[in-house]
Symmetry: C2
Subunit: 134 residues, 2 copies
Amino acid sequence: MANSRSTENSTIQAVDAPSCDVSCDESLVHLDNVRQVQPEVLSTEKAQRMAEFFSALSDPHRLKLLSALAQQELCVCDLAAAVKMGESAVSHQLRVLRSQRLVTYRRQGRNVYYGLADDHIMSLYREVAEHLDE
Amino acid sequence: MANSRSTENSTIQAVDAPSCDVSCDESLVHLDNVRQVQPEVLSTEKAQRMAEFFSALSDPHRLKLLSALAQQELCVCDLAAAVKMGESAVSHQLRVLRSQRLVTYRRQGRNVYYGLADDHIMSLYREVAEHLDE
DNA sequence: GTTACCACTGAACATCTGTTCAGTGGATTG
DNA sequence: CAATCCACTGAACAGATGTTCAGTGGTAAC
């Protein structure tokens, strides 16, 4: 982190006080626009949580796993076979999906069966699929 | 850019022969389940494209940029001020958003004004926000 | 109890991502 | 045209991500 220090910069600094933000210089930016928009900008905390959620969906293998689970419940070794990954890798990825509550799981004998947590997810999936088909 | 070249191909290949898949061993996995699910699994190509899309949304700074643009059109330096980033960093991130057609842009004088490409995106945003509020 | 299987975990490694810094190109102003 | 501003780009670096490998814990079958 460590903000830019006093290296004679001009635009990056001190943006905390709404009374004198944006390097105290109105000519460099359109202060009125910035003022208007700034309070509507996602909070760092929310942005972070949302980013983590999308991040869970930002891997092809995880998406394949979800598309498999959209069909039916499956145990880890079946999932591994279906998407052609090692079981260890699948376990690691399922951990990510679990952390974002995208999947559920239950133990039955030696196997652990995973399933989609939410139909919610499928509608999301379809919306994105539409967006990409343009 | 620059997709994975021909450096590896072990796991992405040969998904065609349902007659002898999954290490040719029925006892290790539930072959019937795998058979049933496998054809519904997202293709590597589609999974890749979808992953890239979600990847564009998987960064807090980019989400902040989008939330700002959801309010109104803004030029780069205003965006930088609104989300407290350097202008160069903003430019790099906007490149990512452009590549997924999440934003539009137009030049006006010395400035380049960016805006949300699609209301589509906002509904996506809201769905995820709901999911996270549980 | 012993063995075998399924799933999870931690460490190590290669790769990808995002920021900063320095420099370039386009457009306006004097 | 010289100076200035705005935005984009490439290189370099630090940090995050995903896979493999080896090992652990729980459960069922012998």
